[in-house]
């Protein structure tokens, strides 16, 4: 079976059906239709994956060209799919995790008046994402890239009646535009350099590329990746994107869309291999992003904000791996992260659902008594992300750290930053778990919302200008028109089974997906052997003994992080306020600085450009117009309307012509 088009066809069909008949199907049938479409896509992916696996390793590649999309002389863009080892892996986890989240969303979005619209967007998102990973050329990937960006915008501002949600969507869109600019320039440069934008042909031509060109291409596509995958300096949109419904946060802003930058760079690994210092830059941007975001995560009180910064931080890990040319590590972490972060987000959604849409963790506490299933499944996610063996996150994170150790130059420092991030990760995730499920005190029973000390956290939740003029209520944005608020008498109840089932399935994967690429023997490197044919670039691993030492250090680090969080938040030996500094709560004021720069000198500069446009460019254009008009006014009296004077003019002209001819002849 080689029908690659079937994979995106299911969600496209689901999207079209929902556009046409979504309202008529209503709640919950529209959701079931959308879920079935994604499940169908998953089934097609599995079938194609099996068919791919049955072929010998050298010919594991299914290409399918549906039609020529842009035929323009030497610039030929086909609407074609490339189903190889890399896109197979991507398709499997996108549709697999996607189907589970769709299922969850049927429960989560129940009774929302816009239920069908939500699933329409969700299916469109899956279709775009599949186009992104399946496209056999850069332009088709760009189509998917823009498609997921548009869906992200639509879904972040899904409850657009709240201005904060609408501006969060706008912020995500505008920030991503900056990255897209890099994508477009990168595509142009690839075409100019290779004369093609087809991945397979690029791969063939890449070994002959000049180092400077490869570096430029890598940097441009890395700019694209920093936008979509929320890295410095463009990460600021992701924490705000939590304004969207929680299934959206899980699907788009944790598991799938934000990893597309990692995918893109992996796809272009034949070029990156020759990109020289661009790789070091990628690794270091990833490392610094990972560290800063982890720092910001440990001072957030909104449960979704913690997870959002955590996502930024984990994506930083993936870029460390990309920069170390450890593409398998990046892909491995992308997959395990998709499982455990989707799990954590869905778990957070279940908690939010049970707590009357309260997102402030200071009002939780002791919830393990009320939400046992959520507690256990989220607990698995917590162990996975904290890097406790044998859960999935440990294996993938450790592979990235080990791969970074021998990078030249300063690989050890890279490894150390990664380790510090891992310790912080264990710390803030333990903090989240304790504040939510432990602590002994059921905070919502005692505290009225007003009595909570207000951390100045308005900057990172709203866009550049909104923080002056939008009333911010200090609560989460997921509060969508459900009038019931968290009251001291509230008794949390477990979310419906429709929401619990995906949690359970994901927790199994979060626990065991480490087996995809166990380090002990070459035979266990399943993922590495699978994707090796499509990935270029070599990274040097430390010697086996060093690897053991590094792994033990990172386990000790994770345990330390957990232990300290336990001391601070469970035993309360240290005042938490000393750790949760405003600088962390405001994510190092990066977003605020952007707002100040763009709002201050930036706005002045833009005004200057606008003035230049008005006073110079426009004035020149208008001047030509008024000049012509003035001249015409002077010349108009010549046209007197008297026929006889025209005749006189013609006569004079004729005489002049004859005289001219006679004089010429006589000379």
């Amino acid at each position: 079976m080689d029908q690659v088009w079937l994979i995106p066809a299911f969600p496209v069909a689901g999207f079209l059906l929902l556009v046409l008949a979504g309202r008529r199907l209503g709640d919950p049938k529209a959701g079931w239709l959308a879920t079935l479409a994604v499940a169908g896509s998953f089934a097609a992916s599995v079938a194609l994956f099996l068919s791919l696996r049955s072929q010998p390793a050298e010919s594991r590649q299914i290409t399918e060209t549906l039609w020529t999309w842009i035929p323009a002389d030497s610039f030929q863009v086909s609407f074609g799919f490339l189903f190889d080892e890399l896109s197979a892996v991507m398709c499997l986890f996108i549709t697999g995790v996607g189907a589970l989240i769709h299922l969850y969303a049927i429960g989560y979005m129940r009774d929302d008046p816009e239920f069908p619209r939500f699933f329409t967007y969700l299916n469109l998102f899956i279709a775009s994402m599949l186009l992104l990973v399946l496209g056999d050329n850069l332009i088709l990937t760009f189509l998917g890239w823009e498609g997921v960006g548009a869906c992200s915008y639509l879904l972040i501002s899904f409850w657009f009646t709240d201005p904060a949600n609408a501006s969060a969507g706008k912020k995500a869109f505008v920030t991503n535009r900056i990255g897209d600019f890099g994508f477009m320039l990168g595509t142009f440069l690839v075409f100019v350099t290779f004369g093609t934008i087809d991945y397979l042909k690029i791969g063939e031509a890449a070994p002959g590329v000049a180092a400077a060109t490869a570096t430029a291409i890598a940097l441009l596509f890395f700019l694209a990746a920093t936008g979509k995958s929320a890295q410095l300096p463009l990460f600021v949109w992701l924490p705000d994107a939590m304004a969207g419904p929680t299934p959206v946060s899980a699907l788009i802003h944790a598991a799938t869309m934000v990893t597309s930058g990692v995918f893109l760079l992996t796809r272009l690994s034949p070029i990156l291999e020759h990109a020289g210092w661009a790789n070091d830059l990628i690794a270091w941007v990833g490392a610094i992003t990972a560290l800063l975001a982890a720092g910001a995560a440990l001072a957030q009180n909104d449960i979704k904000k913690v997870l959002a910064y955590s996502t930024v931080s984990q994506l930083g890990f993936m870029f460390i791996a990309i920069g170390s040319q450890n593409y398998v590590g990046a892909l491995f972490h992308m997959i395990t992260h998709a499982f455990f972060k989707a799990l954590l987000f869905l778990g957070a959604g279940a908690v939010i659902y049970s707590m009357a849409h309260e997102q402030d963790m200071r009002r939780y506490g002791n919830l393990r008594k009320y939400l046992p299933v959520t507690f256990v499944t989220m607990g698995i996610g917590w162990l996975a992300i904290s890097g406790i063996p044998p859960f999935a996150g440990f294996w993938s994170k450790d592979e990235i750290l080990a791969g970074s150790f021998n990078v030249q130059p300063a690989g050890q420092l890279l490894w150390f930053v990664g380790l510090a991030t891992a310790i912080l990760t264990a710390f803030y995730m333990t903090r989240l778990m304790i504040m939510t499920f432990f602590g002994g005190v059921e905070q919502w029973r005692s505290d009225a919302p007003e009595s909570l000390p207000e951390v100045p956290d308005d900057v990172e939740t709203t866009d550049a200008h909104a923080h002056d003029d939008l009333a911010h209520d200090g609560h989460g944005h997921d509060d969508h028109g459900h009038d019931h608020h968290l009251t001291p008498e509230h008794t949390p109840r477990e979310a419906p089974v429709l929401m619990m089932a995906p949690l359970v399935v994901l927790s199994v994967f979060a626990a065991f997906s480490g087996v995809l690429n166990l380090p002990f023997a070459d035979k266990l490197h399943v993922l590495e052997q699978w994707v090796e044919p499509v990935i270029s670039g070599e990274h040097e691993l430390p010697a086996a003994g060093v690897q053991w030492v590094l792994a033990i250090i990172s386990i000790i680090g994770a345990a330390t992080g957990v232990f300290f969080a336990y001391r601070v938040y469970q035993q309360r030996k240290v005042d938490a306020a000393k750790l949760e500094r405003p600088v962390l709560a405001n994510a190092w004021y990066i977003d605020a600085t952007y707002a100040d720069v763009v709002g201050g000198p930036g706005e002045a500069a833009f005004q200057g450009i606008a003035d230049f446009d008005h006073d110079v460019v426009d004035a020149a254009v208008v001047g030509v117009g008024t000049g012509t008009g003035g001249l015409a006014k002077r010349l108009r009296p010549l046209q007197s309307g008297f026929v006889r004077s025209y005749a006189f003019g013609i006569g004079l002209g004729a005489v002049a012509l004859v005289a001219f001819a006679v004089v010429r002849m006589s000379l």
Binding site: L638, Q639, S640, G641, F642, V643, R644, A647, G651
Partner: protein, 102 residues
């Protein structure tokens, strides 16, 4: 014996042309102006025929036929326009018809 050479005809044609040209400029009645145009055309025709005789080339005579045909067509259109204008307004003065002035 006094003979009429070709130059006589040319001088006559020039005189007729001048009368037509001056009449076109001086007179205000559109019909008279129209007749002046015809005078000029026929003066040119006379020149053509004269040169045709003098140079022994029949081409000049052929051109005259073309001029006459075109003049006939022009008369049809021109007269129709003049009549239409006359119906719409009092009197017959070319200077009053100056709606297209700048």
């Amino acid at each position: 014996m006094f003979t009429f050479t070709g130059s006589w005809y040319l001088v006559l044609a020039a005189a007729i042309f001048a009368i037509g040209a001056v009449g076109l400029i001086v007179r205000r009645n559109p019909l008279v102006m129209f007749m002046c145009v015809e005078l000029m055309l026929n003066a040119v025709n006379l020149t053509f025929v004269t040169f045709s005789r003098m140079l022994n080339d029949v081409g000049g005579q052929a051109v005259v036929f073309f001029v006459m045909v075109v003049a006939a067509a022009e008369v049809v259109v021109g007269l129709a326009i003049i009549v239409a204008i006359m119906r719409r307004r009092e009197g017959a003065n070319a200077d009053d018809i100056s709606l297209m002035r700048g």
